[in-house]
């Protein structure tokens, strides 16, 4: 599904963010990406999301070379990938329903389809009853659920979660993880960058650890720290 082939990234300020990284994530996998701040996690996520390009190497997505896509192709590429962030990135002036519908509307979906798909996504994250609320009326956990609903409403092949539980308490975080697991079980590949040791340790999923731009560990049923 996702393949990094000998990827190196050097930023304009000469920082070496990734050093000859190769990794493969198969369809339907749930992968944790762990490492300290500045280790290169964000670079991998940004690269996958086409915010930045590799300096060297190749990115293959869904068996297609996705390195150096044309600017006009990037929007269409991104429709295959749902993304959720630590700070939720919801539009404050839109209610829950509109925030989720937004992701469909920008792809040019028909109103009929939007009316069908948004309630399904909202029920999947357990927020059907709050569709009229605005983000500032919701708790952190609920806001993150809206952002998950927005990320999956398009049926993306891959869901990227960048520190999705970073702003949430443990209980709420575990609720979010249950939702992500459910989404993963329905076939969506998930790549989640996190600092949450307790979560990673309790899930026992594949863990890729990265330090100084190099993969130092890749375990099938891994933990946060090296055992």
């Amino acid at each position: 599904m996702i393949e990094f082939v000998d990827v190196t990234k050097v930023y304009d300020n000469h920082t070496l963010a990734l050093n000859n990284v190769s990794l493969t994530i198969k369809k339907g996998e749930f992968v944790f990406l762990v490492g300290s701040s500045g280790s290169g996690k964000s670079t991998i996520i940004k690269m996958l999301f086409k915010e930045i390009e590799p300096t060297q190497g190749k990115l293959i997505f869904n068996n297609t070379d996705a390195t150096n896509l044309k600017k006009s192709q990037i929007a269409f590429y991104r429709r295959n990938i749902g993304v959720i962030f630590q700070d939720f990135k919801l539009i404050q002036t839109l209610n829950v329903y509109e925030n989720v519908a937004f992701a469909l509307r920008v792809t040019g979906a028909k109103t009929k389809d939007i009316r069908k798909k948004v309630p399904i996504a909202l029920s999947l994250v357990g927020l059907s009853s709050r569709f009229k609320s605005f983000p500032n009326e919701l708790s952190g956990g609920e806001q993150q659920r809206v952002s998950i609903a927005r990320a999956i409403v398009n049926n993306p092949k891959v869901l990227i979660a960048d520190e999705p539980t970073g702003n949430l308490d443990h209980e709420t975080a575990m609720g979010i993880m249950d939702t992500l697991i459910a989404i993963n079980k329905s076939g969506t590949t998930i790549l989640m960058a996190t600092h949450a040791k307790d979560i990673v340790d309790s899930m026992r999923k594949r863990v890729i650890a990265i330090e100084n731009g190099t993969i130092i560990r890749d375990e099938i049923r891994g933990t946060y720290d090296d055992n």
Binding site: A75, F76, R78, R79, T93, A103, R105, V106, T107
Partner: protein, 298 residues
């Protein structure tokens, strides 16, 4: 290719987001209104000055004095020759009797004794043609052409007055053009900055649009339409404001200064309407489009 349906969606979206961001939309509209209003005042002042200059220019005339001993045919011939010269707007014949009458009227109040010895039978004034020009700049050329006509005694024109009018109108023209460029630049700067501010306040929305896979085109169009609507409303408001305020100023000036010849307020409704509205729409739309470039780089 954009379908009608997509375009309809863009318009609906633009209207919705205008409503959602009411405060900033209102601020932008007011900026457009004020800027175009000031630009409009400038236009009206310039147009009024131009009318004044044109009036002054139309006063400029060349007097062609005829020899006393020429026959009617020769005089006819002179008139025909004058008519052939290009750049002449109007030719008016004034015979010596009329000239004396005019002259008498002009000086009778002060020095009536000067005219004691003169009467229609003893009239020293020559017959003359008063020649009005299309454009004072060509007066010298016209004079040199007139000089070649037979039967002319002399040519009189107020060179000093002509030169003064010419130099004033030239300066005003240049000042006008410079001020116009300056005012337009300030307007574009002010309006595009306000729009930039409005878009800046929604940069997060744009970022999210990019993340969920919106194309640049999809992001840009509603903003452009929104900017154009703001420009349109701002321009219409400026137009209305300009009309009513000028109408009041016009009637006040006309009441007190009868001699000043001002453009009538209907000039605004005739000359400003579509230009202003078009300018508003273009500035609004382009302003949005330019301001967006920065935010579309995500």
């Amino acid at each position: 290719m954009m379908t009608i349906n997509t375009f309809k969606y863009y318009i609906i979206d633009a209207l919705k987001s205008l409503k959602r961001n009411l405060t900033i939309s209102l601020a932008s509209t007011i900026t457009v209104t004020i800027t175009l209003f000031i630009l409009g005042i400038f236009f009206i002042i310039m147009e009024n000055v131009n009318v004044g200059i044109n009036n002054a220019q139309s006063q400029i005339e060349i007097n062609v004095f005829l020899k006393d001993d020429i026959s009617n045919e020769e005089q006819e011939n002179i008139e025909q020759e004058l008519k052939k010269i290009s750049g002449i707007k109007e030719i008016e014949f004034e015979d010596k009797a009329k000239a004396l009458e005019k002259f008498t009227q002009q000086i009778s109040d002060n020095n009536a004794s000067l005219l004691d010895n003169y009467s229609p039978s003893n009239n020293p004034l020559p017959n003359l043609y008063r020649v009005k020009l299309e454009n004072p700049e060509i007066s010298e050329k016209v004079i040199s052409s007139i000089k070649n006509i037979d039967g002319i005694e002399s040519i009189g024109n107020d060179k000093e007055f002509t030169d003064k009018i010419l130099s004033i109108s030239k300066s005003i023209k240049w000042i006008g053009i410079s001020l116009f460029i300056f005012m337009v630049a300030v307007s574009v700067f002010l309006i595009s900055n306000t729009i930039k501010l409005a878009i800046y306040s929604r940069r997060k929305e744009i970022e999210i649009m990019k993340f969920v896979g919106a194309t640049d085109c999809f992001i840009r169009w509603p903003f452009i339409i929104e900017g154009s609507i703001i420009g349109l409303i701002g321009a219409i408001s400026a137009d209305i404001l300009l009309y009513y305020i000028y109408k009041i100023v016009f009637s006040k000036i006309n009441e007190n200064l009868l001699l000043v010849n001002l453009l009538s307020p209907s000039y605004i409704t005739q000359a400003f309407q579509w230009q202003f509205i078009l300018a508003g729409i273009i500035i609004g739309g382009l302003g949005s489009s330019w301001s967006l470039f920065k935010f579309l780089k995500v």
